[in-house]
Subunit: 452 residues, 2 copies
């Protein structure tokens, strides 16, 4: 407490010298931000689900252009790109025997389809993807593979990275061995009958099989029956389809800076969502937080560096929007990148990945964030799925890490709806981003490293 | 704390004088009960959903007979009765305009059906059932009625009684005014896309209309759009059907007492469940708790009074099992009745409704329950939906009130699954019931009031 009081007393002096913006004042005012809520409510209510490549995603882009223009951003435009389209169909499942029950399940993105009349087969369960990969094909052929996991909630979301292999790799491994289909315990930390979708991929030349995620209570049920030593037979009807090449796009808006040579500060989130919920925490919150913070800087006076807000398309199916942006803009000097794509929980920590000239930023950002209770972690910033290509290629990056303890309770589910967001927590995010942007957009030292 | 310690010291002495059973010892041993969990797990896993009158409910009765016999109960039998059958069909809904989105909804029990191709109509919203009842018919005719409510979680579940009118009365009122269909905010206190079903009824001569409950996030969405002043159009496909007269039944088991004239202590829960979940908290827990407690008394030696455990059929659609039992057994003297049908949260309070001769029981029950932190409330016992007819006609009753703060989060939903039950809380219930039964089944004074 004493340290924070000290910081509160000394910050205005420290920061006022470096920036035309009063970072402390902007940050604290942002704790009452309503713009981010307005964007989040609007996008989830007036657009709702907006699957990559869908008509709804296109409507979201038009909505975004209107909204960003009305907020006063400059150079608002859409940059389109093509993606392989995929659409959900029917999805039903049941335990046929030994104890008949309906299952709550949903197809994974890029799942293949069952026959139109469904399929029925015995379940073969593996504890891990490695066990499935090691199994002889005749143990798997014609059966429905099941794989569970023990993912637990973690503040930093690290469990998703670790257990994600079940969703990412198991369907392909099952298809390679001739499985009829695969059901996994979905990557969620809740216990509701609301299954978690998410993308999977099949290798070129491997015919996709039906791949679905079960809710945790359904997975529990199957595991209980298996523990009794009984054979389990499932019936599945999962009929998604690939719809060829479709269009997606990024929506870009700017706060023009006074010094075009100082490099762009690129921030954002993703506009697309999975089709089951309204994409409130994933990622209406992220586009809203970053735009609201940029608007606060804009409204306080022109910053030194241009702030570019990017609402990426088609993040969920493989970061296509981020790749398209990197490809189209890699010749432009970017001073720093940062993405908000981990919900709307309060920021509790930040990480950096700073190149040599930008190294002094870390202490300045720390001083600006400390009064919000945000401290520096011991890791490295990755800049999210969409701006990650920049971080990986040497552009400085900052992550403002949100508390993710509840994130995977509703991630990629029909439950990703506006009611899951606490307005005060959303505003705390805006305050953190505003403080960070105020520092980064104005700091006098160069941030763009000259490269050969 | 001091009072509790005193109670712990004095209880064995007080109770040992009155009963062949050591109430304190039985109660405390029951805190490690595993029988109730075994019953709950078995019923939810091996039977699962068991809608009144369904084949699954019949299977549950056979399962129950096997289980109760294996536990050592005597006179285990099924008493069947007829009910009007109803089955869920397809159920889909979407906001067609102004902002298209799919809706999470489920038909209410006894709902009528939409046409097979669904129906589309404008929404007309009312704040209360009274507002709907007061509205001119031409404001409602051909439209889809919407009614919300502001039900909040309450430890004693009282909000359900108050706000329940929305589910119980609004569909009939809407049908009377010629509405095409009705959707209500389901009677739930959660914010998941998991709608809450439950029974509704239409007056004789009123043709049932499609009546469905929306999940809270879906109701929020509709209310947000309405607040914008926009017209909302819905499309519904809800195809349940009445299936004529079908069979349900009660499963009855006994712990025979030494004194047939001392009256029966009748306890139980209900065996049927809604069809969406596996009926874990509603009411596998209740049948399990009461049977496990009765078994503990039985295993400790024959009580004075016969304890009759009744697993009622067809509670959910109108207490048919309770009515059938009352009708068939009303000539038998019942000393006391009590039902467990409010989940598996810990017992925190008890209520009594004691006739004159049974009045001394209250203090004895209080002494037996106080070490579990359970105190006497200021209300009156109702004995639940199934044993309520006895309480209302003058038989003594005890309610062991469970903490219901979370009960209406999952009540009547697909989320009513085993994982929602904490084994230690289930065992606390068994301990409370065991203590109460030990007192009631053995107390030397008469409990059955002589009537003319």
């Amino acid at each position: 407490m004493t340290k924070q009081r000290l910081a509160l007393l000394t910050l205005p002096f420290l920061i006022a010298a470096a920036a035309p913006h009063d970072t402390e004042k902007l940050r604290d005012a942002a704790l009452k931000d309503e713009t981010a809520w307005d964007i989040t409510e609007g996008l989830t209510t007036e657009i709702g689900p907006r699957l990559a490549g869908s008509a709804a995603e296109a409507k979201a882009r038009e909505w975004a252009v209107r909204k960003l223009k009305s907020l006063g951003f400059k150079n608002v435009r859409i940059e389109t790109f093509d993606i392989p389209g995929w659409e959900r169909g029917e999805e039903k499942g049941e335990i046929v025997g030994p104890y008949p029950q309906k299952l709550a399940l949903t197809a994974l993105g890029n799942s293949g389809a069952t026959p139109a009349e469904g399929l029925q087969a015995e379940l073969v369960a593996f504890e891990t993807v490695a066990d499935l990969q090691a199994a002889p094909a005749d143990q798997v052929r014609g059966k429905i593979v099941y794989i569970g996991h023990t993912m637990k909630a973690a503040q930093d979301g690290s469990s998703y990275g670790y257990f994600g292999i079940v969703r990412r790799a198991a369907p392909n491994a099952a298809a390679r061995k001739g499985a009829a289909a695969i059901v996994i315990r979905g990557l969620g930390t809740d216990n509701h009958r609301v299954p978690h979708t998410g993308v999977t991929n099949f290798d070129a030349g491997v015919a996709p099989i039906a791949a679905a995620a079960l809710s945790n209570p359904d997975a529990d049920q199957i595991e209980r029956i298996l523990k009794h030593g009984e054979k389990v037979t499932l019936r599945l009807l999962v009929t998604p389809r690939r719809v060829g090449t479709v269009q997606s796009g990024n929506v870009i808006a700017e706060v023009p800076g006074t010094d075009p040579k100082a490099g762009i500060v690129a921030i954002g989130g993703h506009l697309d969502s999975w089709d089951l919920g309204t994409g409130a925490i994933d990622d209406a919150a992220g586009v809203a937080i970053t735009a609201a913070a940029a608007k606060r800087i804009m409204d306080a006076g022109r910053p030194r560096r241009t702030i570019r807000v990017i609402w990426f398309g088609s993040e969920e199916i493989g970061g296509n929007g981020g790749a398209a942006y990197f490809s189209a803009h890699k010749s432009e000097p970017h001073a720093l990148v940062g993405e908000s794509d981990f919900g709307a929980g309060p920021v509790w920590r930040f990480e950096t990945k700073l190149n040599t000239v930008a190294a002094p930023l870390s202490a300045k950002i720390e001083a600006a964030l400390r009064p919000l209770g945000i401290s520096k972690g011991s890791g490295t910033a990755g800049a999210g799925a969409d701006l990650g290509p920049w971080a990986r290629s040497g552009t400085s990056a900052v992550d403002l890490d949100q508390n993710g303890l509840k994130y995977f309770d509703i991630h990629h589910t029909a439950d990703d709806t506006l009611d899951k967001i606490m307005p005060n927590e959303l505003a705390q995010n805006v305050a953190a981003w505003t403080a960070m942007l105020s520092v980064v957009a104005n700091t006098p030292e160069p941030l763009v490293e000259l490269r050969n």
